[in-house]
Structure formats: structure tokens, C-alpha cells
Symmetry: C3
Subunit: 341 residues, 3 copies
Amino acid sequence: MNDISKYAIATLGSHTALQILKGAQDEGLKSIVICSQKSRRVYESYGVADEIIEISDYQDYFRIEERLIEQQAVVIPHGSFVSYVGADRITAEMKAMYFGSKGILRWESNREIEREWLKKAGVNVPKVFRDSSEIDRPVIIKFHGAGGGFGYFIAHTPEEFHEKIKEFPNQDDYVIQEYVVGVPMYVHYFYSPLSGELEIMSFDKRYESNADSIGRIAARDQLDADLHTSYTITGNIPVVVRESLLPMFFHIGEQVIEASKSLEGVPKGLYGPFCLEGIIDPQLNFRVFEISARIVAGTNPYTHGSPYSWLRYNIPMSTGRRIAREIRQGIEEGRLEDLLG
Amino acid sequence: MNDISKYAIATLGSHTALQILKGAQDEGLKSIVICSQKSRRVYESYGVADEIIEISDYQDYFRIEERLIEQQAVVIPHGSFVSYVGADRITAEMKAMYFGSKGILRWESNREIEREWLKKAGVNVPKVFRDSSEIDRPVIIKFHGAGGGFGYFIAHTPEEFHEKIKEFPNQDDYVIQEYVVGVPMYVHYFYSPLSGELEIMSFDKRYESNADSIGRIAARDQLDADLHTSYTITGNIPVVVRESLLPMFFHIGEQVIEASKSLEGVPKGLYGPFCLEGIIDPQLNFRVFEISARIVAGTNPYTHGSPYSWLRYNIPMSTGRRIAREIRQGIEEGRLEDLLG
Amino acid sequence: MNDISKYAIATLGSHTALQILKGAQDEGLKSIVICSQKSRRVYESYGVADEIIEISDYQDYFRIEERLIEQQAVVIPHGSFVSYVGADRITAEMKAMYFGSKGILRWESNREIEREWLKKAGVNVPKVFRDSSEIDRPVIIKFHGAGGGFGYFIAHTPEEFHEKIKEFPNQDDYVIQEYVVGVPMYVHYFYSPLSGELEIMSFDKRYESNADSIGRIAARDQLDADLHTSYTITGNIPVVVRESLLPMFFHIGEQVIEASKSLEGVPKGLYGPFCLEGIIDPQLNFRVFEISARIVAGTNPYTHGSPYSWLRYNIPMSTGRRIAREIRQGIEEGRLEDLLG
């Protein structure tokens, strides 16, 4: 059995770093956080980082990469990592060990080919309108890459679309999607390439400003003040699903994994944590509007385990810790290579 | 002391089965789940079932009942069990050991006599209108037996009622209830017949499609799209109550237990888990619109214990485990009979 | 090292008493609850009180104070304590040991000077209008001392203000504040005078009647029924924040502590638990509308630890227990005096 003490886990200090670092420690791996001067306070206070590497700009990742390679650190990508370092540079330049399929970043970062993948997996995706003239029902216009969800809007007609789009003069990378009425639900999966098993770790709903508070204002007052909805993510709220929906969620997750195996440029397929982001409509259909092929912030309510992960593990198993456990097993069994993209 | 290893706990694989099965295991009792082929995946993944009995239709319960009797399994009823097997057949045909008062099912399944019970207990129930012509304030029309809450509607006048009821041509089993403005609150109790003590296990609020997301849409957009509210239960969200309300919640729960002791056909009264479903209005009155005389899905956020059960037990005590603990104590003390309906 | 067994922790039986008492026990200190006859049921059921002192009216605190002094009990103030006993009498008459700076009560209880403090700390506070004639945007009118938040209202113009204020004929102690659109967020801090370190314990959002359910009613139906928003606190819901906001939250907390050190009549400054109550707007600014210079009920979801406190402590650390731990350390190190106001 290989010695795990010669390895480390590293990530950028943001997004889901707290649970990733704590998870590494709990599994006996050294934890390294790369962060800015103003963020180190956070990782010090919670005591989750065995080493802090300070950089002035997250895009300076490549300046310190050698230190990660020397320590045999496996880098865990999360939304901020992908956003700061960039999918292209991750694929072309990154030399440190990387947990996950780098090839999946291309599929995840482009809504059109992401949609192909989901449809191939038989997932129920909302209709997308290729041209604004086709709008014949409520639609949501999402600007791609909009940090944290800011800048989405809803329209009902081509006319309304043209009026509202004027407020976003410099953004032409958007999607016009059927607006599905129902409750948002985020499903957090983990697929283990070592065991070949899919797990459901937890569920959450986002806490968006002002979407999740505009309803606190009486309709009459909203009309008076001419209020509009915005979708900036500020946090996450724990939720559990109706137990009778779990077979469906397992099934969908397995279809997505299966379909990922034949995606171009992704020889190992999707593995590790991923999230299906959708709406449960009043007829209990799960309409999926997006997939994140990595850990997402919706797992943050569960740094000490979720109502689901406690059932399976009987110890506090966050998604961050689940990643560390997979890596530990990979090291111990000499199969670490199977986990690297 | 009797040997608990000769007994088992069994339930249908749905609703609250995960916590019931895990709770049985944690208390040292064998756990048996009866489920469909597509559901077994769930109970295998979470490792909570010592035995899985597969049936193709939940109504086939009676085909496998002999296997439960042979294993001295105590069956835990939940919403899906009562719904699939049926209150009548449970009372008339079921031979396996059954946790709870079977007689209470009749009181719980009929809104009119349920209401009698609650009023007798001194509980503050919303006004019910016997005839739609009497509607003089906002009312909610609830179709009884509507799975998961789908098909409720709100009206303000007899005219609006008559217009909206047309959308439900085949349903004439409904109640017209005063629409109480305030926040929904579900109180999860456990009454122990062995100790004679009432406990408050937890609180939750439901996560309903689309009721819990319609407010995310600005009033102006809702009006444009002519959106209506529906109440399909998709999951549950944890919540704690204002501590100064706890004396009231204990008092109401005790009144309900006391009143249940004189209900016709319920010699042992209500015991085990139950839930009061209501609204806390802005004056902090708790208006109760329904009672569930069994475990409900609102306890699912707390498979690893709730902010309340941790105080009392110092171990992860879900409502499912609380049931198993009561049964274990009943077996050990030779009082199991006291727990069976 | 001094003997902690000769000391106790005491509080009034309401608000956050459950976690305070449990925290005392977990840290090896005797727990004493002072409560009414109808409340003792609660503290008995959860087994958190080593001693229950019954009083018929919370204002009778001074009748039993001698018993606390005899037992070397440190009294933990919370919202109900301050409200029932009164800031003036706490400062002038209270003789038992008191955890926290008494002098801070004056700053916290008056919105105008509280605002001075926050502005001095560089905190982003909403605009306050000195006179209703200046109202030029949506504003919220808050009645000071309104128990649990009942009696706030929103207005958009001087005219609307004058119409709505008529519903509150006897209340002239109010503030007219800019109505900030965004999601409510409550940040729970703990500042240790023994270590000089600031910690973030958790976050929550309130569950207010009817503010948090009015959005469940479709806009059309709200208009029909002429519904208005009210803000009575009924409970709390757990939430985590976007990890990238944590550096800001630490920074703001530290500024508030720093500024408190030069407040008149508060020689030791603010210490122990406190809460910043604000709104995160869609541009991710945290607009602070109030500070509570003591433990608040928003920490109640975390009697068994929060997603944050688990990271730091690896044991179930509620805010109540954190207080007890500070007191224990103070006793053991002979520095208890540093913690008393």
C-alpha cells in the first residue's frame, strides 16, 4: 500500500475550499490552500489548511504550480478555479495532478454542446429558442459566464425580449430558454471511478438576491416600486427531496455518466462530484437546465455531512471529504492515475 | 430481558423508509424494506436495509406478509404505506405486527371527523365552510387524498369558487377552509406509551412546487404570465421555532394526545410519531389545519438528528430511530403488545 | 487552575436558553434556568437544566438574584432577558455576574446611536430619513422595540407614509429607512476577549410571518385579497454564504469590534456573541441595518454546531457552548473578571 503522507490536496481559497481542505485533513492528506492575502484570514480561522500559499491574483496560479508538483499535490478544481485559471489553460498548460476529466470542461462551458450531452443522456431539458422571434411562452435569458448568476432576465414575447436586452448592450453570449415553473432543486452526485458506483450526496436550493426575497414584498408594493428579479447567488439552503423521487434521481445521474463516456475528448468520461441543476415542476418532472461537472457551492451546507451522506457513511462525509477519500484509496491501491485528467 | 435479535422492523421503500431502516439498525434491530425493483437501488446505496423484499406493486403487500410474520417484524406505517395498502385493508386484513393505533386511521383520513378531534382537543382550527355560498373571505379548497398536495386552489368569493372548481370536474371530495395568512409550520411529535411522555422532535417547512418559487417571479411578470399557485410537495426544509413558542407547542400536543384517548375505536389513543400541520399567523397564533397520526416526510431533514433531538439525546436521534428505540424498549421490557395496534 | 465546579451559568428560559444551558453542561458548568411555570416543561423535556428556578413573571428576576450570586452563576443575557429585565435595571441594579459589556446595551437599544457606531466602523448602512417629507424611494418604517418584528411597514412616498402610519396611532418611536432590495442575511460572530480573536459561528435567515409566505400566493390573488406584509419572527432557517464573501464578513466584524472600543461607557468594548443583520444586494454589497450585541435566536438552528463551527472545533459547538467555553477558560485562567460587564 502506498504512503498517503507523501501526497497532498490543493485548491484555490474560495468557492468550496473549506470542505475540500477539511476533507483532505480528515482523510489523512496534507491540505494546501492557494489564496489571496485577504482570504487567508478565513482559512486560518477555520484551521483547515496545513499550508497556505499566498498569491496576489488567482490567475497567478502558474507561478506557484511548481510548489504543488514538488509536494505531489492533487489539485481539486471548483467553479472559481475554472473561472480564474480558465478552461483553456487548465487543459493546455497545467502540469500538477488534476482531479477530474479536463476534457469535460469544454462540454460544461458551452451551453449548446452541454445540451447535446444532456439530451443524449435522455434528460428532460427545457426547450431552447434559437431566435428571439420564436418566443411563444415565458422564457429566461441567461448570459453565459455571468458570475454568480447576475444578469438573467425573463421575457414573454419577442417584443419584451428586445426591450429588456437593451439593458445588456455588451453581452451577446446568452441562451433563450423556456421558463419552467416549479421549484429549483440542485442534486449533488459523486461518481467513483474506482468502484464504478454513483452516489447521491445531498440536495440544496440556492439563496439568490433578490429572487429569494422579492416575494417578501406584497404584490401591490412590488408593482408600485416597479421591482424586477435578479439572480445573484449569495448562499445555499439545505433541503431534502421527497423520498419517492430518489429512484429517478439515481437513474438520471447514471444516464448522464453513461452518456459522458462517449463524449469526444473525454476518454475517462465524467467522474468525481457533479451537479444537476433543475426545476421540479408540479407534476414532479425534473427539468434539467444545467450540469456542473465538478464540485459546486450547493454542497457547502454539508461540511459536516448531509441527511443522506450520514446514512451511508456514519461519519461526517462532505463532498470535499468524499473527493479526498477517493484520492486516498487511489493512492493506496496504486490507481491514482485513474483519477487524474 | 427479551432478545431483540429475534425481531425486525419493516416498512415500504418510500416516504420515510431511509430513516426508519437506519434507525432500526442503529437500535440493533434487523431492518427489512419492501420495495419495487426500481427503488431497491436507493436502499442498497445507503446501506440501510438488512433485507430487501422486492414486490412489483406496493399493493402486493399481502403476498409477502407471511415473510414478515415469520421474522417477527414490526411494520412501521407511513404516508405511502397507508396510501398504497389502504386504511380499510390495514384494519381488516393485516396480520403482521403494526406499530401504532390502527383505529386512528379512520379519524385521520376524514377531514370532518379529524376536525372534531382537533376541536375537542381545544386546538385553534381554521373555519370550514359547509357550502360555497357562505364564502366571505379568502379560502383554500383542498381535495382530499390528493397525492402530495396537487390540486388545491384559493378563492375569495362564491363566484370565484364556481369558476375555479370547473378545472376539477371529477373531484367532489374537497374541503373549503378559511385561508389563513402566515407561515406554514410542521411540528413533529413523538408520544411514548411506555413512558407516558410527549416529546417534540423537530420542525420543518415543506418545499412545494410551485408555491415556494412563484414568489421568485416579480409580481408584474406573474400577472403577465397569468401564473397560479400549486402545492405539490417536492421536499422539506429544516426550520427551528422561536423558543418562546415551545411551551404552547408542548401544550397543544398534549391536548391532542389526551383527546385521542376518548376517540371511538381507538382504545389506546394516539401514540408514536405524529405531526400537526399549521400556520403561525403574525400574532403568533398556531392555526392547525391537519394532523398526521404517523411519521411524516417533514422529519426527513433530520436523519442524523435535529437541533432539538440532539439536546435531549446527545446521539443522532431521528424520528425513525425514536420509533425503533420505543420498540426495542417494548421488547426488552416484555411490553411490545402495548405498542401494537 | 481554578475549579469550574464551583461556578454556574444561568439564563432566563426563553429565546436561546436551550443552547446556552446545553452548552454550559457540555463544558462542565452547572446550568440554571429561571423560568415560568409553563416554560419549565420545555427545559425538563430537553434535559438541559441542572436547576430550574421558577418565577411567575420574568420581571421578578431580582427576587431570585441572591440564589444566583450564592452559586457563583454567570448570567448570560439574550434578547428576552434584556427585554424583560430592562437595560436600565441591568446596568443600575444587577449584582450577579453578567457576561458581556453592560454599557453596550445603551448603544444597541437606540437606533440613532447604534447607527453612529456602525458608520464609525465603516459599515455600509442604509440611508435613514429624518423626516417623512424627505422620502424619495422605497422605505421601511420600523417601530423600535416592537417585539419580534411586528408592526413594520413599507412606503414609497410621503403620502403613503402618512396614510399607513395612521394604523399605528400610539407608536411614535420609529425609524424611516431606505428599503434595500436583496436577501436578508444574519451573521453570527463571537469575539473572544481572552484570545483577541474574532470567529464567524454561522449564518441564518429568519422565518417571518407573513413576509416569508406571502410570496406563495400568486400576485393576482394577493391583489384580490389586498394582502400586506408583516414581519413577525416565528423561527429561523439555516443558510451558508458564498465562500468568497467570507473575507468581507470577517473584515466588517473586526471593524465593528475595533470601533466599539472607543464607544462612551463601554471600557471593554463589545465582546462575546453578536450579530450583524443586513441585506446582501444583487451586487453582493452587505447593507447592515442593525447590530445585536448579544446572542440572537438566529443561532438556534445550530444547537449541534453549524457548517462553520464544525470546521474549526470538530465537536458540536453552538454559540451557547462557545460562551460557556470562554467562561470556563476565564475561570481556569483566573481571568473571569475580563468577561464580566
